[in-house]
Every structure is written in structure tokens, then in C-alpha cells.
Subunit: 307 residues, 4 copies
């Protein structure tokens, strides 16, 4: 009865106009539209339960921990004492979950445009936030992240984490990937502060990642590109950190493991000192492409991924 | 933003191992398993709301009336006075809906294996039964149709309508397409009685249709193959009627229209006298293939569609 | 090893933006671009060898004879004595093949834009033209069909057959589906002359077919819509004939069979008198939709199929 | 005209029974069957020209250099002086191409079952072997790799490179992934000899990779798992090396770069000292899974990937 296996409900995800990935769906948990975006929660055979926003997988229970640990911990361990952390985006609550694992954190501020996504996640993917939204250290705001940040006093945050959708053509997240935004962030960070952003795939659309890296390097004295393999995102995924002080790429495996222990971060699944080292060491052709990139992203000429 | 149109939830339906049809899905209304089968109710862009059983579209709101009018009315108008009608299968309630339009009907008996499908249809596709299950002329039984029929007295029904899934390899409906079943039906029909069955596609798997026709022609003095275009079934769809008396193919358009009026059937969307004539007149190559078919379907060597 | 059956080369054919049909390909015989269009010749598992132009199946060896017999013979048998026949389009040579079966034909003129398609067909699908291009009665012209026709003297042709691609948005064939073109055709036909055109699918995009029918009915005293099931086109396929004299729909099965015999047309696979009758008798809802259509196609506001 | 972009020829590649990747094809260069396997050479939009064997991409011009540099150089630089190198498989000639870059190599022996693949590659993907098959140091044999190796004297090779298809269920390459095969290889290697094998994906089917690693670790005093991102293989790709002496994982970036320079390997695109370090450092969960794997692959109970 193999043929029947092929029939039924599938989820199609275009990687490029000429490359499509399709997953068979076991169950649909939610299908609807918020004020801002189309949202689906589906149970797949290959990646567990997936949150899909505007047709793109945002998080799957099978590997969201790779993405969220990779996004959060390198900058957190690089900072000597992250007391106040800002998250822009991050509606799944899993970035928040990882931030709260660092004992020094006093205040975790999260600004997301779409309140409804958080309600959907709490209802259908509660294993993502794991109750983080209820933590008394957390402050939630529902508005545009950039204008929120502009209104804060200078030096407000030790770490800023940008966890928003890719800068797809036409997306509202495009202004969160420009030089002007990073300049605002630099002002709002404390002296040894760091910003980190998810920074699109490393293989198809490497240009996009490289421009984000080059832009960050224009604004911050230290900028690092690093990556992690998130199977449900297909390609090796890129991240970019900018720092006013500490250099994440310079941490040794021992220093990373020491800091995680000292902060009582607890058992992680993906991240530790060796993972850190491997993430920050790109293959030769990626290093060359990053160095070769000269173009930056500005409000007037922002980077975006054509669709 | 056209690329995004391609992304999202689709329903895949293999026509053959080397031909797949896929529809984009607007909304999933139900996804689950009954005791007997996997059932989905989805809203598509192309065919409206669809009832899918074991991965195959059974009925779509966009064209179920073609299928159900084609299945029911030719045999009903051929019989001089159909008082007792038996339906084997027909869980959507739409076959029942059409049967009840004929004023002579005193008793409409329906036997379906799967009580849960009827509940799902009543909840999510109420436009199919349109309340027919509540009609006092209706008697519902939930059990195997063939053994039910075997237990009835001879001469119990004027018309028998078989509205079950295709005889796909491994399907429980295979015994409802054999010579032995048709012999039981012949005994249970009144003297001028007719049986009609849905009889799989006319284009791919024409062999299957032709064998059903040839089997019926072995058991009944009159057997007719006819067809209707049901777009959501892709191919032109086949039906086979067997009769102990009247010949449906011999009815003129005027006779059909006269009978529909006399019985106060009301306004139909697909069926009338001219439609009847066209349905019963196959293109030359189909006629030749039906005549050329020599093989029949028996319990020991039943017809089935390989998957 | 069933999974492997799914892998490999497939041909994708969008029926609508939300419905895609895909066929597995056994072999690619040709893939290239002519001056005017993209052309592929592929061997499929389901439909034999297929000619694909701009991504759409034009003819498959499994059922091209349904389409070409349906396009040609109803108008040819309706005309009392077709001496001069014009084909606009028809690069496969199969329309020509059918026309030449009628013994009265003295001259078969074919005008197609794309000389290269004919060479590809002769090389890779020779079973379509079956040598017709070499018949001494044939005159071939490579140019735009409408301007060719405009230059001919009035009363030049007994039958005109339009065998061009669908009026897809942006297609060069759109001007061959307008009132102005049909007016030119009317002038170039002899007194009892007929024009017939392929007229797009009957199920999805029925509007398109209905507008072509309505347009023809505005220009000619007699206009008929008819259909044939061409499995590789998925939907039941539409045709529209316009006539200055004889009414194809009025022919009885006996008259059709008599004319085919008298003209020594030879054994056909699809078409005969009964097929003719069935083709010209639409189901009720199609008849109603055709009558309800009020809009016509003009050069200024032509009918087209959105893509 | 975006819809048309979707239509046409695509290549479907099942990652799992419930996950399919499809690429649009620009051109088919070759489609046929050798005595042993089905072979296609297609030009895709996303990955350039691809060699597809039995429905799986073996090499694409866009990233074959990642795979082949990753397969060859870590073991070659680990060996103090690789004079005689054996390749099992490697019909594309690209493994050979990389081996020949190491100046110490005196003899490069390649054993592949399928002579025809080499002819197809030379004709349609000449950028892969780049003339390596004509190098006088090369000896080519066309036969089963395992029985060839069994017949060689002990201590025949410094490095053995296994470049064969994945151990898919039913594949002839399964016996090249067992303990017994690795024992033969150990005997045929010189004292400081190494064997390396491609070892299937790291994400889906990690079990398969882990079993190959565990098997190698049972036979050789040193065994290493490492990986490289080959975008056209979708997942991060695994490799396993076994060594009778030197430990590839212990090389520092400086040592790797020094050895490449000393051997006049020339400019590589993917591999250098930093790449080496990153490849041999897995994320935490991969390390844990490798350690947890207890099962090995034997001739009687070989590892395979279910299809």
C-alpha cells in the first residue's frame, strides 16, 4: 500500500523559485491568520510539530533547540554579566527560555509585533516557551521593535537579540537588518554590550548573510559570522554578532564551558565549548565570500531576499 | 509575491504511481481516523470543500451533484415505480438526498459500514445530506452491505444503488464488485428491479470499468455502461447499471423529462433528458473496449485497481 | 523499492495556480527553444510521447487522435463538399492528417508561425503527421495566421480549422479568438463554409469557452459548442464551430456514418455517428452556462485565460 | 508569467518517504541506463550540472568540490607520505583529481564497477575529472571493489578512499560498509595507513552514520567522524576515517596548512587548516549520539538506509 503513503496532506516550502521542499503532514493543529501574518501549526513526520509563518517554518520541535541555543548563548557567555537583555521578535518564547537560563539576568524584555502568535504558541507548542512568558523577570511589549528601541535610554541593555523573520522581499522585518538599526542598537547597548541577529541561510542567498555581516562590521568594532545546522531550515543557518567589547570568536572551548557552569545554565542539548569553536570557524569559501563582500544594508538600500 | 502562493498546505492525490495531482488547501476542517478509514475534510481553492477518505476525494461541494445525480436518477427514472430503494454505502447522504426526490419512494434503506463518517459529514459538510438522514422514510444500518443484503427476503427492493469506494487493491469494497454479489442483488430485486453501481474511471484503469460492466452483463438481462464528467475525479467517471426489466439506455430525452416532472423531482443541476442521452452514448473507442472485454469479476478472482 | 519510483524526472503542469498535475518522465527526446517558444518532447509513463510547448501538453500519442478527430471531422462532414481547407496552426501535422482523409479535399493549406516545431515533430513524433506534410495537396506557409487569412480573396475556403494554443494571458494566439478574427474568417469562407476552433477546457475556465462560443454566435448564423474527453488535457475539452450554412449539431448518427463512408475516410478510432451525437449534447449545467454567457471577445477586450 | 516558471521538467528526490525535494531542470544532457544503474546528467537552476545515479544526486558542479576535498584531503594530509592510494568507486574522477594533487603520490589505483559512468562523466561533466583518467600514475580497474581488494597483497596501500553510493536498502554498495570489509582494508594498508569512507547524512538517518563510525572504531585503533556541508546533499554530510597510526582529528590548523604547502597541493576552494578543525568538531548532540551508538555493521547484519 506504498502508493497511499504519498497521498494526503503535504506542506510545500519553496527554497528558491526552482527548488521546493515538501513534507508530509500528520496533523494540522492550527491554521489561521493573525492581524499581521498567516500562521499554521502542523505535525510533520520528519520534523515534529512546526510553527509556520507566511509559509516558512519558523521552529520545529525536532530542532528548535539548535537554533535557539545557537542564537542566544554565544553572545550571552561573551558578555561578562548580562543583567538586562532585549529580544526583538522571538514570539515562540524559546529565545526567552534560553536567555532566562543565565543566572545574572535581572530583566528580559521582549518586543514582538504579533500578540496572537504568542497565544497560538502557548496553546499548541507549549514545549517552546516552557512557561517563560510567566517568569516575573519578563516584560512583554507588543509593538514595532525598532521604534521601541529608539525610545529607550542609551545604555539600556547588555545584550540585544534579534529573532525575526528573514528579510524576504516585502517583509516588515527588513528595517531590522540595516546600518541605521544597528547604530540605534549600539547606542542602546551598555559599554561591553553585544547584539546578535539571526542572519539567513549560508548556502543559497549567501549574499544576504554576507551583507548583514559587512553591515554589522561597519557599525561595531567587533563583528562575527557564525553558523549552525538546523535540519528543518535545510541549509546551514547564519548568525551575526556585533560587539562593543568582548569578541565571541576568541572564546576557547574551556572558557565557554566554564562560563556555562558558573552561570548554572544547566544541561544544553546543542551548545557547549566545542560546539562554539566549530560554529565560529567557517569553511574556507565562506570566509572568502564574507571578506569579499563590500556592500552594506542601509535604510535607503536594504538587504532583502528576492522571492 | 507569487512565489508564496506556491507555499503552504497542499493535498496530494496519486492518480497512478506515475501521475500525481496536487491541490492547494485553504483550510482543514477535519483530520482524523474512524474505526475503518482515514478521513479528512478540506477546503480547496479549486473544488470547494472536499471529503477525502483514505487519501481519495469522495465528494467535493463543487461537483458532488454531478456524481450523485448521475448515480441515482437514470435507474430511478427507468423503474416504473420505485417504492423501496436500498443504498449500499453513500455515507455522504447525497445519494439519499437524490433518491428522496422521487415521490413514489416509500422506504429508503441505507447500509454503511462507518457510522462516524456520517457524523463527520453532518458536522462539516451538511450541504451534502441536507437533512436527509432525518427523513422518516429513511432506515439506516451500520454494517457490511453485502451480508445485510444476503439476509433480506427475495424481491425486497425496486432499486439498489451501490455507492462505495473504488475497488482499490486491498479495499474492503472489493466484494461489492463481483458476480456473486450481483447474483445476490438480482434475487433481492423485484421483477422490474435495477441495480446501479459507481464503476471507477473511464480513462486510466478502463479495464476495471470494463470488467464491472462485463460482470453485470453476465448476471442481468440488461446491462449498461454510462459516464459523467466529475472534474474533481479528474477522469470521466463510469457507472454500470443492471436491470431485470427496463433498459435505461433506451429512454428518450422526452421520456426522461416526462418522468422527472411526473415524479415532482424538482430542479436538478446536471441531469435531464439530454444529459441522459449523452451519458449513455460513449465514444467509439470506449464502446469497442467494452465489447472486447471478456473477463469477469468473481469472489475468487475479483477486479481491483492496483495501487 | 517503491520509494525510488517516486524519484527522478517529472513534468509539472499547473492547471490553475492552486492545482498542479505531475507526470513521471521515462525519457526526454528533445528539450529546446525555437524562435517563438520553448519545446519539449518527452516520453511519459501515463500518456506515451508528449509534445510540450511553453510548459503545456499539446499532443500525446496516447490520445491525440481523440483531439484531432474531434477537431476536424464534425465540420468536415457537415460541409457538403470541402474542396479547400485552411488550417491555422496545427504544427503537429495531425490535423492535416485527418483533413486529408476526406476524399473531396483538393487543397489543404496550413499556416503556422513556427517552422521549427514541424521539424521537431517530424523527427521525434512522426506518428502524428504520418507523412502528411509531403502530400502534394498540402501548401505550407510559415507566418502569422490572421494576417495570412486577411490577405486571401473572399470565399477562398470551405472549412477553416483553428488549431492553436490556448489564449493564455500574454499568448500570441489571443487575436485568433476574437470577433474581428471570426469576421475575417466569415468573409474568406465560401457560402456554406464552416470554421471550427479548439476552445479551451469545459470545467476550469468554462468562462473562456463560453465567451468563445458567444463570440462565434454573434458572427455566424449557426454556432455550436461541443466537447471531447482528452485524458492528457485533464478536463473535458471544448470546441466551437461557426457555420454560414449547415448545422453540425443537427446531423443524425446515421448521416454522419453515411458521410464518412461516402468520403472513404477509413477507420477512425474515436469519431463516428454516435460519438458525434454525444459530443454535441452537453450536460444541463453546461448548456445553462453557455446560454447565460453574454460577454464576447473583441480585439479591444479579448478573452484570455489568466495564469 | 510567474506561473509558467513552475511548469516544466523537475527532478524529484525523496529524502525520506515523507519528505521530497524537487529541483527545476534547465536541460537534460543524458538519460539512460548502464549495465548496473540508471544514470542522468541534468542541468539544474540551483546546483548547476548534476550527475544522478538511481535517482540520487551524486555530484553537482556547484559543490562537488566540497564533498571531494572533504573526502580526500584530511586522510591524505594525516599520512606522512602517501605513495600508493586506492579508490573504491569514485566514477566521477573528482576523488582521483584531488588525490593527484598530493605530490608524493606514485600510484593512484581506482576500482569502479561501472565503466559506462566514467564515459558519461568524461563526455558530459568533464570539469569533474579534469583529465585525471589520462594521468600516467592512474590505474583503472572495472570490477567489484571488495573482491579486488581481497586479492591484493597485505600492506599494498597507504590510503584507501571509499567513494561509493549510500548503503540504501538493496544497494550493491552495502558490503562496503561492514566490519569484514574494514578488516580486509586494515590488512591491505601499510603500517601508518588510513581508510576513509563517505558515511551518509548526519541529520536524517544519523543512525546509519553512527553505526559506520562504531564499526570503524571496532576495527581500527583510531576512528574519526567528521562532516561537511554539501548543499546539494541537503543535510550536513558525514565521513568516517579509520587509521592504523596518525589521528586526523589531532592535526592543528597550522599543521594542515603546512602539509598542504609542502606537498604543493595548490589552491583549494573548501579545505584548509581551519576548515579541518571545524569539520572534526561536532556539535554536542552529534557527539553524544556517536558515543551512544553500540551497534556495528557486519556482513550478516549490515547497516542500510531504509527506502
Amino acid at each position: 500500500m506504498e502508493l497511499r503513503e504519498r497521498d494526503g496532506i503535504w506542506y510545500l516550502d519553496s527554497q528558491t523559485p526552482t527548488c521546493t521542499l515538501s513534507y508530509k503532514v500528520k496533523r494540522i493543529l492550527f491554521m489561521g491568520e493573525t492581524r499581521y501574518q498567516r500562521v499554521e501549526v502542523v505535525e510533520t513526520y520528519d520534523y515534529g510539530r512546526c510553527l509556520i509563518i507566511d509559509g516558512k517554518i519558523q521552529s520545529s520541535t525536532s530542532d528548535e533547540w539548535v537554533y535557539h541555543e545557537a542564537l542566544v548563548h554565544p553572545s550571552m557567555v561573551s558578555h561578562p554579566s548580562p543583567l538586562r537583555v532585549l529580544m526583538v521578535g522571538g514570539g515562540e518564547g524559546a529565545t526567552l527560555r534560553e536567555v532566562l537560563k543565565h543566572s545574572p539576568v535581572r530583566e528580559a524584555v521582549m518586543v514582538d509585533l504579533d500578540r496572537e502568535v504568542i497565544e497560538i504558541v502557548k496553546k499548541y507548542m507549549a514545549e517552546l516557551p516552557q512557561g517563560s512568558f510567566e517568569n516575573p523577570k519578563v516584560k512583554l511589549y507588543f509593538e514595532d521593535g525598532r521604534s521601541f528601541l529608539e525610545r529607550q535610554p542609551d545604555g539600556s541593555f547588555d545584550v540585544i537579540i534579534v529573532d525575526v523573520t528573514d528579510p524576504l522581499e516585502g517583509s516588515p522585518s527588513i528595517p531590522l537588518y540595516t546600518k541605521e538599526f544597528y547604530e540605534v542598537a549600539r547606542a542602546k547597548l551598555t559599554d561591553a554590550g553585544l547584539i546578535v541577529t539571526q542572519a539567513s541561510p549560508l548556502y543559497y542567498n549567501l549574499d544576504c548573510h554576507a551583507r548583514i555581516y559587512r553591515t554589522m562590521a561597519t557599525v561595531f568594532p567587533v563583528a562575527c559570522s557564525y553558523r549552525a545546522d538546523v535540519p528543518s531550515y535545510v541549509s546551514s543557518w547564519g548568525f551575526v554578532a556585533g560587539s562593543k567589547g568582548p569578541n565571541p570568536a576568541a572564546l576557547t572551548p574551556g572558557e565557554v564551558d566554564g562560563k556555562l557552569a558558573e552561570r548554572k545554565v544547566g544541561e544544553l542539548k546543542f551548545y557547549d565549548g566545542l560546539t562554539h569553536q566549530s560554529m565560529f570557524t567557517h569553511p574556507k569559501h565562506i570566509r572568502k565570500a564574507l571578506e569579499a563582500e563590500k556592500s552594506i544594508s542601509t535604510d535607503g538600500n536594504p538587504v532583502f531576499m528576492p522571492i
